[in-house]
Amino acid sequence: MLWLLSLNSTIHGQEIDLEPVTDTYAIRNANIVQSPGRVISMGAVLIEEGVIKSVGKSINIPANAKIIEADSMYIYAGFIDGLSHIGLPKPKEKAIDRSQIKDPANPPNDLSGIQPERLASAMLGPKDKSVSDMRKIGFTTAQAVPHGLMLPGQGTLILLSGETPDQMVYRKETSMYAQLEGAPRRLYPNTVIGVMAKYRELYRQAVQSKDYLKKYNANPAGMVRPEQNFIEEAFYPVIEKKTPVTFRAESVLDIQRALTLKSDLGFDLMLGEVKQGWDVIDKIKASNAKVFLSLDLPEIKEEKQDSEKDEVSASKTESDLEKERLEKRKKEIIDLHYQQASTFKDKGLKFGFSTLEVKPKDIKKNLSKLLEYGMTESDLIAALTTHPAELLGLSTVMGTIDPGKMANLVVTDKPYFDEKSNIRYVIVDGNVQSYEVKKPKKKGTGKDAMPKGKWSYSADTPNGTVTGEIIITGEPDDYSGTISNSQTGQTTDLTEVSVGGGSLSLSFPFDIGGNNIQIQITAEIDGNTFEGNMSVGQLGSFEVEGQREPKN
């Protein structure tokens, strides 16, 4: 634990608004959910140097402790994310220069996606928005894996706090991350059959070279020197069963393909981002694979009930009836996705959650969906805390609120799953981050928001995050302005700026490969921030958010 303590003191100060005068905290008068079903009402938690010292109804609070008055708030153990890209920004897609590829059957490793030697721990960006986005909804720990194709690299276990990658990393290498994702077209291995064959070959080659290395190390005299091979070496901990392979396996077929590779080769398996596992639970159980279910759920588009239509149901056409039948089947399959977590629970299989695909802002909504479909609050807390701690081998230090555990805590003003609850504090490794409760938006005041000024924005696009500045000048009904783009380095005049109530609407032209596309931003302004969507023709619509820049 010593290194943790020393590391702790260096983190302090960056994560909270003011330089702390102490690293001893006491949170009082709170409902403490120590673990699912184990609750202390109106108790206190004492934290010293990042470690939970004591928990109870009446505990001694030293004089140097900073008191956090959590008057009837709720404290949970920090949430643990089983598989994510937190802290690892998606790299920009590069155009492939095919003239440089001599043999498409044997492309360079960054194109084939065979890069198991890469370390997520060495690629972390502590300032990446995903870290603060996930922390502010209660996550304090995550397994983070690199973006990529077949073998993107080694996952790492991070704390959602810290200024540098070193400060974030709790465990450097957690698992070898794998996907059934082929190389770009015309490059080997391109399809799932190529990927699985290549996977088997690499694994067996690694077994072979590992055996040879062992013999060589025992008595190298007279033996040919084994060549250094970083790809094969990356498999060694997996072969020794020191680390598992984490397979991203969303569909019912991909889950079973990962299980096939496991049974062919014998490695320990974690299945992540599972979306369609309900029919293969017994098969998963038999394999002893550990499971992280996806928090990305399909959406049911609630259709408006047309009461008139119901009355004239007798006159429904054959195609109306066919549509109803198809909608019914679609709803049934969506329901199965929603019920997946409770089906796993009923079958007695412990699981955590993964967040490779879900947007942070949808997580609470989707957890509530699982509550509607058979999970209880305790089940969900277990799947967010104790179960992933167990599956990732962290139970001695994380997952519950008990003396000796790391001070990873979430404090909410109402029970977490209450629709109106707000997160007030997230404590990671003893660092306290506090959150203001957003005032409900005033509606119907009739007053238009003030868009004038300089805004910084960021948009999540398929090409990565685009940032830039929007400058709006002029007067109501006569606004104009410019927008800059970090990727192109260009600044473009806005062709339309309009405000209605709190809604801001902007549009501007954008050149994509010689085609001029009109981009439209619609967003809600809330004081000095805005949130909304950027729609880019047929390419779809992406989230955008902005912040007013202070006047110079």
């Binding site: 015309r186 391109n190 799932v192 064959a197 088997r200 070959e201 040919v224 029919d279 198809l326």
Partner: protein
């Protein structure tokens, strides 16, 4: 009796995991077309635990067994398609002229609705093949049409011999020669790819033999050949453990591959398409190579201009074991019509015409000891028709796999999908096109856009 897939789905009961299901079933009073042992009028077929126990008259159903009254109907072995790409998530690993290491067994997709549609045409078994983009493509999977499961392993016919796809002519030369500027650019190059590959595999085997012979010697310090899954597979072909199924059209190339196989001691060889097979029928028979053909489909590219609907008959009359295949998710539903065309073009007798879609494809897949005819001890794969299967009025009524009724025309629900797409756009005014195209070249479309 009917595996109540739909009921199960409607009740939202998961399909679940069953071991490969075996049924017990009595089919009574049918006209039994055994294929290998003549026609038995007014006879019964008893299937017990998935296997044909008895063919005779006045058979009693074991207690609890289901009974089908096939009076006035024709009972024949389940139809076998020796060339298909249904139930696969990936078909072509079109990125190298040789991809012997890949296997369509890794891409089996039990959710494919085409399986049920094939069942509706009496087809109980198909050869889920790799495509024809590469000179040496991937290994293929022989699957039984056990529809209603989500487990790919349940479709696989355990114990069926391994098979591999080869391809001659325009496809591999276009994909790799024209597409990437590498060998094979010409038909000569395709032969070179085969010879290089087999020679390399021979060296690889010799290397391992040498290593294995010496490795236990005390002073041994040597290095084993580096494990290579591609060469391992090619070595298995040379050892006779894998049947080659080669995409082919022209007679000169067909002859070429037989010469290559002779040079490397390879005996198990089946030609697919074989549109010019009629030109080299005696040579095929002499080699012992078999042929799987279309009934009357050609002229879809230059190398397939010279062909004839008499191909199957000429091959058959020259003692080449011949089958008629679909290579299509549509054609697979009426292979019985395709077989019947040999009666217009060549006047094949009924038993020989039906052999083209039953016992002969079974021989080509090395499974004729288990399926392909109605014989005691064989697996209970049966198709039952109203009207003779070679009649234009034939209607498939029941299709049975391992004694389980997988298709029943009287109980044939409209929506047999197992997992509908939760994100599908439902718009019934626009017909969804399940259009026909040569799936042999799936995943290679990009090659034709420049």
């Amino acid at each position: 009796m009917k595996k109540n897939i739909l009921t199960a789905l409607l009740l939202l009961i998961s399909v679940g995991l069953q071991a490969q299901e075996k049924g017990t079933l009595l089919i009574k009073n049918g006209t039994v077309l055994t294929i290998t042992n003549g026609i038995k009028e007014n006879s019964d077929v008893l299937i017990k635990d998935g296997k044909i126990q008895k063919i005779g008259t006045g058979l009693k159903a074991p207690s609890g067994a289901d009974v089908i009254d096939a009076k006035g109907m024709y009972v024949m072995p389940g139809i076998i398609d020796a060339h298909s790409h249904i139930a696969l998530s990936a078909i072509n690993e079109a990125t190298s002229p040789v991809t012997a290491e890949v296997s369509t067994g890794d891409a089996v997709n039990p959710l494919d609705i085409a399986i049920y549609r094939a069942l509706a045409g009496g087809v109980t078994l198909s050869h889920a093949m790799h495509g024809s983009a590469n000179a040496i493509g991937g290994q293929c999977e022989t699957i039984k049409h056990r529809y209603g499961t989500v487990d790919p392993e349940e479709l696989k016919m355990k114990g069926a011999p391994r098979t591999i796809k080869f391809a001659l002519g325009e496809n591999p030369t276009r994909v790799h020669g024209s597409g990437n500027g590498i060998l094979p650019r010409t038909r000569m190059g395709v032969e070179e790819v085969f010879r290089n590959s087999f020679s390399e595999a021979n060296e690889y085997m010799a290397g391992w033999n040498e290593y294995n012979a010496k490795k236990n010697q005390k002073s041994f310090k040597g290095v084993a050949p580096k494990y290579d899954l591609r060469l391992e597979t090619l070595a298995d072909i040379l050892k006779g453990n894998i049947i080659i199924h080669c995409h082919s059209y022209r007679a000169d190339e067909i002859y070429m591959l037989m010469q290559v196989c002779k040079d490397y001691g390879i005996k198990r060889l089946v030609f697919q398409h074989v549109n010019e097979g009629f030109k080299v029928a005696p040579e095929l028979a002499e080699f012992g190579a078999m042929a799987s053909v279309f009934s009357d489909w050609w002229a879809y590219k230059f190398e397939v201009y010279y062909s004839t609907a008499y191909n199957a008959t000429i091959l058959t009359e020259n003692n080449v074991v011949t089958s008629i295949n679909s290579d299509s998710r549509e054609l697979i539903r009426h292979l019985y019509h395709e077989a019947a065309k040999t009666q217009k073009y060549g006047s094949l007798p009924n038993d020989k015409a039906l052999s083209l879609i039953t016992i002969n494809p079974a021989k080509q897949l090395g499974i004729d000891d288990r399926v392909g005819s109605l014989e005691e001890g064989k697996e209970g794969d049966v198709a039952i028709f109203k009207n003779h299967p070679l009649s234009i009025y034939a209607v498939p009524m029941y299709t049975i796999v391992d004694g389980i009724v997988e298709f029943d025309r009287e109980n044939d629900p409209a929506d047999m999908r197992i997992y509908p797409n939760p994100e599908e756009q439902i718009d019934v005014t626009i017909a969804v096109s399940d259009s026909e195209y040569d799936r042999c070249m799936q995943d290679t479309e990009f090659l034709f856009n420049h």
